[in-house]
């Protein structure tokens, strides 16, 4: 929709050109959320497009995803064969409530910064041990794991003027065997629970719980736990009030589905661990 209070758009091409952050500013990446709701408090958009960050960079240490990388670009990434966790990319893209038409515009960084519980790029990058690089408003820079970047429903660690630059995915995470489970109240609807498990190099289970909880919850087990241990750990680590409540699922059902999907993941990965 038209954002009629916006009077200017800045188009910086380098970090130096980023304007001094002022009340009424908003970063414009894809804009698919920004333009989907009234934003009467905004006066200026700072368009990140002309910074021309390379969308995806594969290196010896892993994958770097620019905040402005679109969902479609990520989905189309040709991954090296040893990245056996790569099916998660496509599974998480398909977990978007939005259709493939939006993926062309929506960005990975935008989805993470929206910090919705159901943000599938949060699920993906936190499960893959992603680390955010933040360009601070004061000119500094800091790093923080994605799982810690999101602190609640539409809440994160960004201070006004901070900018998410990229997410680094370590190679080790991409080489892990993984299992994905997602459920929604409707066949292709918004995730009510999205869980990703993977087997670490030392045979442990890394379980990332998203969508059902207000923020990502990461659980690590030294080996593949038994059913009871898994269940009890989840019950202990996730208090009832951490389960998200909105029109896309009641908390008590999200909790039940979380336990159920976690067990499915455990069984699936247990099989592969033994194999």
């Amino acid at each position: 929709m038209d954002l009629n209070t916006v009077a200017a758009v800045a188009h910086p091409t380098t970090r130096d050109q980023l304007p001094v952050w002022t009340a009424g500013d908003a970063w414009l990446a894809g804009g698919t959320w920004l333009f989907s709701e009234p934003q009467a408090h905004l006066r200026r958009l700072i368009d990140l497009t002309d910074l021309k960050w390379p969308a995806l960079t594969i290196s010896e240490t892993g994958l770097s995803i620019a905040a402005t990388c679109t969902v479609a670009q990520l989905d189309a990434l040709a991954c090296p064969p040893e990245w056996i966790a790569s099916p998660l990319i496509s599974q998480c893209c398909r977990a978007f409530l939005a259709s493939f038409k939006i993926w062309k515009t929506a960005t990975v960084g935008g989805n993470i910064c929206m910090s919705l519980p159901a943000g599938p790029m949060i699920s993906l990058t936190s499960a893959l041990d992603g680390v955010c690089t933040i360009w601070q408003a004061d000119g500094g820079e800091r790093n923080i794991p994605v799982a810690d970047f999101v602190t609640g429903d539409q809440r994160n660690v960004l201070a006004p003027g901070d900018l998410l630059r990229q997410v680094e995915i370590p190679l080790a995470a991409l080489r892990r065997r993984s299992a994905f489970r997602q459920v929604s109240l409707t066949p292709v609807g918004r995730s009510a629970a999205l869980l990703i498990g993977s087997v670490t190099s030392d045979g442990g289970l890394a379980l990332t719980i998203t969508a059902s909880t207000k923020r990502p919850v990461r659980l690590s087990f030294a080996g593949i736990p038994n059913s009871k241990e898994l269940r009890e750990t989840i019950l202990q680590r996730i208090a009832d009030d951490l389960y998200h409540s909105d029109v896309h699922g009641k908390p008590i059902w999200r909790k039940h589905m979380t336990l159920r999907l976690a067990e499915e993941i455990r069984v699936e990965l247990q099989g592969t661990a033994y194999a």
Binding site: M1, D2, L3, N4, T5, V6, A7, A8, V9, L28, G31, T32, F35, S36, E37, P38, A40, L42, L45, D47, T49, R94, L97, A98, S99, F100, K101, I102, K104, T105, V183, L185, T186, P187, V188, G189, R190, A192, D246, V247, H248, G249, K250, I252, W253, R254, H256, M257, L259, R260
Partner: protein, 908 residues
């Protein structure tokens, strides 16, 4: 900036925060539609460099230097793209508002996406079709027939507007841009109940571009109802154009009229309103309890508010026989309390319109309406204008479903046009649709039922509490309808009804497809099934033993004063047989893990083919000089398909083909009267008027031909675009030429008063699977049989049934407006109010009973609301059959089903 749009270069700078959608529309590309303006519905889809995007989400400046293709430029040189042709052949649209975006999206799909249409089309919402016809288009299927002269009725002819719809050229309400137009934006109440003490306009008037501000001080001091019926006495007069008391969050407070939407929005933000907060009540049970704040304490019986002190706008009570003693003696009894949630019509075109005063001093209102003639009458009343100084019309309307049988915008448009003397436009946002128009009436229904050991019903009792929200538009008529046919269809000596429609400080409920019946049918049809189960009788047999048959009185207490409902035809028996046979047919069962429980369920519905107390239509038809005909009807087209049917009726009566009938519709300037396209009346009532007019003209043509040839008119027939008198043929074109030379006008009119009325029937069957450990639900089979009389257009009628099933599945499974304790709608957007998308809707097998109605046009009956009615009830019965649990509240979402499943089946 330079934009290449449909191959042409434009140099124009968009506003900084402007999205591509409005930029394209400002350049005249009206094929780019606004359904949600938030990226959820896909109606605004365009191609950028050949790739589909939602133009409402794209900053316009980003299209700089790119090639944009809208539906208008999709095929070169005004041609037809193969996908456009596919949508024409399959008739993959009804109202057509989603069609531009749907076609551009479908044409972009690769083979993999075409194999997973549920995922590929999740960003394209069609509210009308139920998606089967869209799938047919993608599969290259043709659903249309041809018809030789005089044989159009009963054939699957395509909608006349199809070629314009698929090219984005059909003009919907907002697809015009008069010079010098002002825009209206509303400041809306943030409080559920408050008195407006003062409105300080000074800052707002200082906003550049703000022209006028309208408040309650400018509005006529008159009460009316936004509900539009033929007779004003059907609804409570409790509404003002602008009031100094606001009774729900979202109610109009003041209008800012400005040169641009942006200025009008800013003007709204600059208004300073002082409110005195009043106590509010949002729950209907609390609202009618002693001590609740009176929401319309200033209204009386003279305003047709039944008991303003108790927040009761309408009530009905009655008993035939003695239900209590019948229940005491029954072999089987059932009692259950059922709740239906608040749902929205979600027509893809929002409410709104344009208005202007023309050089002759006539107030013109172009709006998105189902009832232009009733709107005109009310505007004339409110603003003290002679009827002939008000013209209301619509061209194509993007969906209605009952939501446009209301006057939500035309009063503001008229007020603003009269005050400013300028053309004005008022286009609601999607959020405004949710928070400020109308919804279905949420109802709490308690049913008590009893039967003897042979399965004969002995007692039926309904207790209904309907939540009408802050205003009583349609409150009474919906309440009466809700307790009408649902029990009238059953023979039962003891029946009792208590119904109350309560005011609450929430967004008003209003007319909605089904008009109350879907909400009560869930309870009644559950009771029939539960009794059948107790007695060991099949659901089909139980119904056969109890439904009315021709000759049986159709009774609901306290009884109607209208006794004009007759059995013009009867196909309920066939509908039950058709569904029973289809459900029993051998079908491959998908292999499901043991977690899944399966079950079948049915429900039936009867509906009067016309609303009570008269429903009127005038139609006229005249012979044109080229031998074709001009047919003028008042009824409106919003995807209901009546434009197709009216031409079929006329072409059949006049031995011609539909392409020679030019339809002029839904414009009060054409004269005559039409109560409107509601209550499924577009075919049954207006169609009869068209039939009468066409048959009268047929008689004139025979007479005239006979007089030219010196023959007896009785020796003349109509055949193949002409008359044949004693073996001598005269083409209509020749007759027209002769008439012209003799200065004779060949034209006729016809009318219908909507009485006597008939009854139509539908039976829905579902087979479902429910996961007992997660609450997930799959529909394995969906069958509906419809008794539509002689089916005027099988393809279209099938589409009405499928669309009704789809919309009703939305209400049964997904859709829910959530209102918080303060009365605020917390999910006023499509991404939080889930409309069924392609992936959500199963294919429904549709069967028609073989009947011909003695009262309907050429044997036809109405069939637009009733397919919706039995769906949630049948689904509830199927779930009960599968799980052994009777769920009593819609929507049947996994998180709602799971707690009781968990209680019964454990964690799994």
């Amino acid at each position: 900036m330079t934009f290449q749009i449909n191959g042409r270069e434009f140099s124009k700078a968009p506003r900084p925060g402007q999205c591509l959608r409005t930029f394209l529309r400002e350049l005249g590309h009206f094929g780019v539609k606004k359904g949600c303006d938030a990226g959820d519905c896909g109606a605004c889809t365009v191609l950028i460099d050949g790739e589909p995007v939602h133009s409402c989400l794209i900053p316009a400046f980003r299209a700089d230097g790119h090639a944009v293709t809208t539906i208008e430029g999709f095929a070169p040189d005004g041609g037809t793209h193969p996908m456009q042709q596919a949508f024409l052949d399959a008739q993959g649209f009804q109202c057509g508002f989603c069609t531009s975006g749907m076609i551009l999206t479908c044409a972009s799909l690769n083979q993999a996406q075409r194999h997973d249409l549920g995922a590929a089309l999740k960003g394209n919402i069609c509210r009308c079709t139920g998606y089967r016809a869209i799938e047919d288009a993608l599969n290259g299927k043709s659903n249309i027939e041809d018809a030789a002269a005089g044989t159009a009725f009963g054939r699957s002819l395509p909608a006349p507007a199809g070629p314009q719809v698929v090219r984005g050229a059909a003009r919907y309400t907002f697809d015009v841009a008069p010079e010098g137009m002002l825009h209206i934006k509303m400041l809306r109440s943030p409080h559920p109940h408050a008195k407006i003490i003062s409105i300080d306009k000074r800052a707002s008037l200082g906003v550049p571009g703000v022209h006028t501000i309208l408040t309650f001080e400018d509005a006529p001091d008159r009460l009316f109802s936004t509900a539009r019926h033929e007779w004003d006495w059907m609804d409570a007069d409790d509404t003002r154009v602008l009031d100094n008391v606001v009774r729900f969050i979202g109610q109009k407070v003041a209008a800012v009229v400005a040169e641009t939407e942006a200025a009008a929005e800013e003007g709204c933000r600059q208004l300073d309103v002082a409110y005195e907060i009043l106590p509010a009540v949002v729950d209907p049970t609390a609202a009618i309890a002693p001590g609740a704040p009176a929401i319309h304490g200033d209204k009386t019986l003279a305003n047709r508010v039944a008991d303003a002190g108790r927040n009761i706008v309408a009530e009905t009570h009655g008993e035939f026989g003695d239900v209590a003693s019948a229940l005491a003696q029954a072999a089987a009894t059932y009692e259950g309390a059922f709740t239906t949630q608040r749902v929205q019509h979600a027509a893809l075109e929002t409410h709104g319109g344009l208005a202007w005063v023309d050089a002759d001093g006539i107030l013109n209102v172009r709006s998105s309406t189902q009832v232009p003639f009733l709107i005109r009458r009310t505007l004339a009343d409110l603003f003290h204008l002679p009827l002939d100084k008000v013209r209301v019309f619509c061209e194509r309307v993007g969906g209605g479903f009952g939501g446009k049988q209301e006057m939500f915008v035309e009063d503001m448009l008229a007020l603003a046009a009269l005050k400013t003397g300028r053309p004005v436009k008022f286009e609601l946002t999607r959020e405004e649709q949710f928070i400020s128009t109308s919804t279905r009436h949420p109802m709490q229904v308690t049913v008590k039922a009893g039967a003897d050991k042979d399965g004969k019903l002995t007692a039926l009792q309904l207790d209904v509490l309907s939540n009408t929200g802050a205003y009583g538009n349609h409150a009474g008529p919906v309440l009466l309808h809700s307790v009408g046919e649902c029990i009238g269809v059953y023979n039962c000596p003891n029946k009792k009804v208590d119904g109350i429609a309560a005011y609450t400080n929430t967004v008003p409920a209003g007319a909605f497809r089904g008009y109350g019946l879907p909400q009560t049918l869930i309870a009644v049809e559950a009771a029939i099934d539960e009794l059948a189960k107790q007695l060991g009788i099949s659901p089909f047999e139980m119904r056969r033993r109890n439904v009315v048959k021709p000759g049986d009185p159709m009774l609901s207490p306290p009884g109607s004063e209208y006794h004009d409902v007759l059995y013009g035809s009867y196909g309920l028996d066939q509908c039950l047989d058709l569904v029973e046979r289809a459900m029993a047919a051998e079908a491959p069962m998908p292999s499901l893990p043991a977690d899944w429980l399966t079950g079948d369920g049915i429900a039936l519905t009867m509906i009067d083919t016309v609303p009570p107390a008269g429903h009127f239509a005038d139609c006229s038809i005249s012979l044109r000089e080229d031998g074709g005909f001009d047919l003028t009807v008042g009824t409106a087209e919003f995807g209901n398909g009546t434009s197709t049917v009216h031409r079929q009726i006329a072409a059949s009566a006049l031995a011609t083909t539909v392409d020679r009938i030019r339809l002029l519709q839904s414009d009060t300037a054409h004269g005559g009267h039409d109560t409107g396209a509601y209550g499924s009346a577009g075919t049954f009532v207006a169609g009869r008027a068209t039939q009468a007019a066409a048959e009268a003209l047929a008689g004139q043509l025979k007479q005239f031909a006979a007089s030219l040839l010196g023959e007896n008119p009785d020796a003349c027939t109509l055949d193949n675009h002409g008359t044949v008198c004693a073996g001598r043929r005269t083409s209509f074109a020749l007759l027209a030429a002769s008439a012209h030379s003799l200065n004779k006008v060949l034209s006729a009119s016809g009318n219908s008063s909507g009485t006597p009325r008939s009854v139509a029937f539908n039976v829905q069957g579902f087979r479902v699977a429910v996961n007992k450990y997660t609450g997930e639900l799959k529909i394995l089979k969906s069958v509906q049989a419809a008794d539509a009389g002689r089916v005027a257009n099988p393809m279209q009628c099938r589409g009405q049934v499928e669309g009704g099933v789809a919309q009703s599945l939305g209400a049964a499974l997904y859709e829910e407006m959530v209102i918080d304790d303060n009365g605020r709608v917390i999910n006023p957007k499509f991404r939080d109010y889930h409309l069924p998308s392609f992936a959500d809707i199963p294919r429904t097998e549709v069967f028609f009973a073989d009947t011909s109605d003695a009262l309907g046009p050429m044997g036809a009956k109405s069939m637009s609301e009733s397919p919706y009615n039995p769906v949630a009830a049948a689904l509830g019965n199927a779930i009960a059959n599968a799980t052994g649990i009777r769920f009593t509240a819609t929507p049947f979402k996994p998180d709602r089903l799971w707690p009781l499943l968990h209680e019964k089946f454990g964690p799994g």
